[in-house]
């Protein structure tokens, strides 16, 4: 039966209300460890394949099995990727939370639930769709241990029927999920079909929500930021990864392992041309990365807050001894162990200043999976060019959730290995001073261990040193070295990705955001239009800051810095960096573990502007 016909059949069932098409949010409430992930991602991908802008977010507990977990899928014809506070369509698959889940539905909302619970609809103002889960699963031949798991396909089928999701796309998504393995695809699909047919015959549609195919998504992909970052690192030529498991960073390493296994084997021997070391802890991990970077390999680690804390001392060493390294921080909620499975932008200040004494670091701030990919390779160019650790600050929302993206572009420039002197170079130059600023960019030349030349060797140390890397306590040497590091940091300003500016003519106010906060800001700007507020927008993509940002602030009377942390850390950095402009820089920061929403931002800005 073709989609057209089917939807026609359904049409007459729809109540009086205007249909709402491709513009609502689904929330699926389940118990973790029951395998609902497959069902949820398949639903998400099916909508994606229908060309509908979608974004999925997994809101899961720090636990392995038995606790409540939610998955939201937002379909947005306008292409908004941010989370929304309200969910119109609920799949109540968790008995422990359904009362609360239902209570939170807006008027006119929808609730799918297992009729097996024998629960009686508690609200008049929403559409209830009972689902005979056990019965439907019972009709299919399933190994006992898969029953719970497969049961999730029942809601996939029912949603498909009621919301008009194309079953071919569901099948295609299952095919993608099980990378073509016929058996599981067929098994899951049979449940989907059974549920679908049953729903068509038994559930008169009483709600206005449905989806419709939109333009093709041919050049789009659906991916999580951690996979994208890992892939980027692989195309950045990473050779050594040392890490220690921690949520939400682990999946970046898992992805890197798979990609490297595919793409970095020696054709003849089949041996790995890379190394991945699961270290004993994060101190070991970053130490290994620094050792490898010192020896000349592109090496990286990935961690989250607690691990970053443990890397503090080594970060200072790498900064001061000037050793390239790439450190990904997939931010979760802190302080301390905090909320390990919730998202935040709370490590910004720490990463920027990581280490005792006076140290400052280059930080990249990806906002999309596309930028995760780009940071993946570009971080190495920056680290080797600047001979310094580069921090990539992603977060749980970007790293672990599925986002739409254009296909990734191949790096548009060859690898920049920085100033490395070969034996030939040394022969030609006849001299070598490791920390000499010959080019005025603050960057000295380095040599790699194993370079076969009597001049090649130098002694790397975290202690005070002169241009020849020789230990020195002389005040002049210390001053000169710190001054050079300052010049190098200024060079960094010119090399890191520039902010993206969307200037609105005559706008009095501006917004500044970075990372995932970008998505709700885009939506919030549209909402603010209704209030005749049309702020300019600057999205930061890196630290240290450069002139673009200063100029942007200068051109506006008030600049709101929107971020997902408690203390307004980026606003603080802007105050420090531009004291003369600090009075116009206003912090709008909020952190409760959830990604920011357009609503919160809109209201925060309105409240502020009300005061003006």
């Amino acid at each position: 039966m073709s989609d057209e016909v089917k939807s026609a059949d359904l049409a007459h069932l729809i109540g009086e209300r205007e249909p709402i098409v491709n513009d609502f949010q689904i929330i699926i409430a389940t118990v973790n460890g029951t395998g609902s992930q497959t069902a949820n991602t398949v639903l998400l991908r099916a909508l994606f394949r229908m060309g509908i802008p979608v974004n999925g977010k997994n809101i899961f507990p720090s636990n392995i099995q038995g606790l409540p977990t939610w998955f939201t899928i937002r379909a947005s014809k306008d292409g908004y990727m941010a989370r929304r506070e309200t969910n119109e369509v609920l799949v109540a698959f968790n008995q422990a939370t359904y009362a609360q889940d239902i209570a939170e539905l807006p008027e006119g909302g929808v609730c799918f639930y297992p009729e097996d619970w024998g629960m009686t609809p508690s609200r008049e103002d929403i559409s209830f769709y009972p689902m005979p889960v056990e019965e439907l699963v019972g009709t299919i031949e399933v190994p006992a241990n898969l029953k719970d798991y497969i049961a999730n396909m029942v809601y996939v089928g029912c949603l498909a029927a009621i919301l008009d999701i194309d079953r071919d796309e569901i099948e295609a998504s299952l095919d993608f999920h099980f990378s073509g393995k016929a058996k599981p695809i067929q098994l899951n699909m049979s449940v989907v079909n059974a549920a679908y047919e049953w729903a068509l015959d038994n559930l008169p549609k009483t709600d206005p929500y449905r989806v419709e195919r939109m333009g093709q998504n041919d050049d789009l992909i659906l991916l999580d930021g951690n996979s994208a970052g890992a892939l980027g690192a692989v195309f950045g030529g990473v050779s050594m990864i040392a890490w220690y498991p921690i949520t939400p960073s682990t999946s970046l390493i898992d992805a890197a392992r798979e990609y490297l296994n595919d793409l970095r084997r020696d054709p003849d021997s089949g041996l790995a041309t890379y190394a991945i070391i699961q270290a004993e802890d994060e101190i070991g991990a970053i130490g290994m990365v620094i050792g490898a970077g010192w020896a000349g390999a592109r090496s990286m680690t990935s961690t989250s807050g607690p691990g970053l804390s443990l890397m503090t001392e080594f970060a200072g060493l790498a900064y001061f001894a000037e050793i390239p390294a790439v450190i990904w921080d997939i931010q979760r909620v802190g302080p301390s162990t905090g909320l390990p499975t919730r998202t935040s932008q709370g490590d910004l200040m720490m990463a920027y200043f990581l280490g005792h004494g006076d140290s400052k670091h280059v930080c990249l701030l990806p906002a999309t999976v596309g930028e995760c990919f780009e940071c993946g390779w570009r971080a190495f160019d920056l680290a080797e060019r600047l001979q310094t650790p580069v921090f990539v600050l992603s977060d749980l929302d970007l790293g672990m959730n599925l986002w739409m993206s254009d296909v990734f572009d191949y790096p548009d420039q060859p690898m920049d290995r920085g100033k490395v002197l070969s034996a030939e170079d040394l022969e030609r130059l006849g001299r070598f001073a490791r920390y000499e600023d010959a080019d005025g960019d603050g960057i000295g030349p380095r040599t790699l261990p194993g370079t076969d030349h009597p001049l090649a060797a130098y002694f790397t140390r975290g202690t005070g040193h002169n241009e020849y890397a020789i230990y020195s306590e002389r005040p002049e040497d210390w001053l000169a070295n710190m001054a050079r590091l300052g010049r190098k940091f200024d060079t960094a300003r010119t090399l890191v990705p520039k902010p993206v500016v969307d200037e609105v003519k005559k706008a009095k106010i501006g917004l500044i955001a970075y990372g995932t906060t970008h998505h709700p800001v885009v939506e919030a700007r549209d909402r603010l239009k209704q209030y005749d507020i049309t702020p300019s927008y600057l999205r930061l993509r890196a630290l240290p800051l450069e002139e673009t940002t200063r100029d942007f602030i200068t051109r506006h009377e008030r600049v709101y810095v929107i971020e997902n942390n408690n203390d307004g850390q980026m606003a603080n950095l802007l105050h420090m960096e531009y004291p003369e402009l600090a009075s116009r820089v206003i912090s709008l920061a909020h952190l409760d573990g959830m990604p920011l929403t357009a609503r919160w931002i809109t209201e925060a800005v309105l409240e502020q502007e009300g005061e003006h």
Partner: protein
């Protein structure tokens, strides 16, 4: 006129470092000298060596030998991680790590253990003096129980045994020596440099400033009086033939991974078999109970593979791979993308 040079045409001076700033008579200086002698005699090309260390007087010493080798004076207790990273991406480097008893036994215990577990190819020397020299004489984790020191007072905790710790972590080469026994130190170093994985050399290296009184088991007087070598060790380079000039029973020959050999002339009949892990553990425990200062080769296993080997990693150093081996092709990316594309 007739300056001695080695097989690769270098003088002994080419193996020296900057002048030492350690105290006159410090055991660490004599160990530095043995490193210079050994690398010179083995005609090791200095550029192939990396000198790694943590923080401490001992860890300063790499500045005082092999001036033509790259050096990395890292963080307190963290040299094993640096060694792991560097040797993993360039296994052609010869890594010489110098640590102290505080650097290894206190703050560095965890990294020490896990480096050994991975059998990272490094000659790991612990210059063991039972104190924190650089911070002026506090007790380290190897200080004698019941020992008294001017500044630190009385130590009432049992010492950890670097060699036993290494063995517990499945070390593949464990030896103990004494800075006052340069010959043994040299032969053990040579063997260690021919070893496949991590070679742990626990060298008692007296701190003449803070811990050199007779009562201390880490002092020169004690070492001179009490050292009991397990074997008479001769290292035979790959090139040279082994000549067993005494009856086989008295000598044990150990073939190293690189084809060279160690000749161990047993010093007493019922002597120790360093290829037997159980024997090695028992030996250390007995020595502890009897408090004997035994030195020599305690355990060796040339069959245990290195981390690179168990990881099925290419033998070619990763740092030597050309950029086009490091960055996969545009086609490769296209292939990955097409697999992800919405509708492939």
């Amino acid at each position: 006129m007739g300056i001695k040079i080695n097989e690769i045409g270098l003088e002994r001076n080419d193996y020296k470092g900057r002048p030492t700033t350690l105290c006159k008579g410090c055991g660490h200086n004599s160990i530095s000298n043995q490193i210079i002698a050994v690398t010179y005699e083995l005609s090791i090309n200095p550029h192939r060596v990396i000198k790694l260390s943590g923080i401490g007087c001992s860890s300063k010493s790499p500045a005082y030998f092999l001036g033509r080798s790259h050096g990395f004076n890292a963080l307190h207790g963290r040299m094993p991680a640096i060694a792991t990273g560097a040797t993993t991406v360039n296994n052609h480097l010869i890594a010489i790590g110098v640590s102290g008893d505080g650097d290894t036994g206190s703050i560095g215990m965890g990294q020490f253990k896990h480096m050994i577990r991975r059998n990272i190819p490094v000659l790991y020397i612990v210059e063991n003096n039972g104190v924190y020299g650089l911070t002026k004489g506090q007790f380290s984790a190897t200080a004698d129980e019941g020992q008294f020191l001017k500044y630190a007072g009385l130590n009432e905790l049992p010492p950890i045994d670097i060699c036993l710790e290494a063995l517990a972590a499945e070390a593949s080469f464990v030896a103990r020596s004494f800075a006052g026994d340069p010959t043994q130190v040299r032969e053990l170093m040579k063997a260690a440099l021919s070893h496949r994985g991590t070679a742990v050399l626990d060298i008692i290296s007296p701190c003449v400033t803070f811990n050199n009184h007779e009562a201390s088991t880490k002092s020169y007087p004690y070492g001179k009086a009490r050292e009991e070598p397990l074997q008479d060790i001769t290292y035979v380079p790959y090139a040279e033939p082994i000549m067993v000039d005494y009856n086989p029973g008295d000598v044990q020959v150990v073939e190293m991974f690189d084809g060279s050999h160690m000749q161990l002339k047993k010093l007493d009949p019922a002597s120790h078999d360093p290829t037997n892990r159980m024997a090695a553990i028992t030996l250390l425990e007995e020595a502890r109970v009897e408090n004997e200062f035994i030195t020599g080769l305690i355990y060796v296993d040339e069959d245990r593979p290195t981390f690179r080997e168990v990881s099925h990693q290419l033998e070619t150093p990763l740092v030597d791979l050309p950029d086009d081996c490091l960055r996969p092709s545009p086609e490769a990316l296209e292939k990955v993308m097409s697999r992800m594309r919405c509708c492939h």
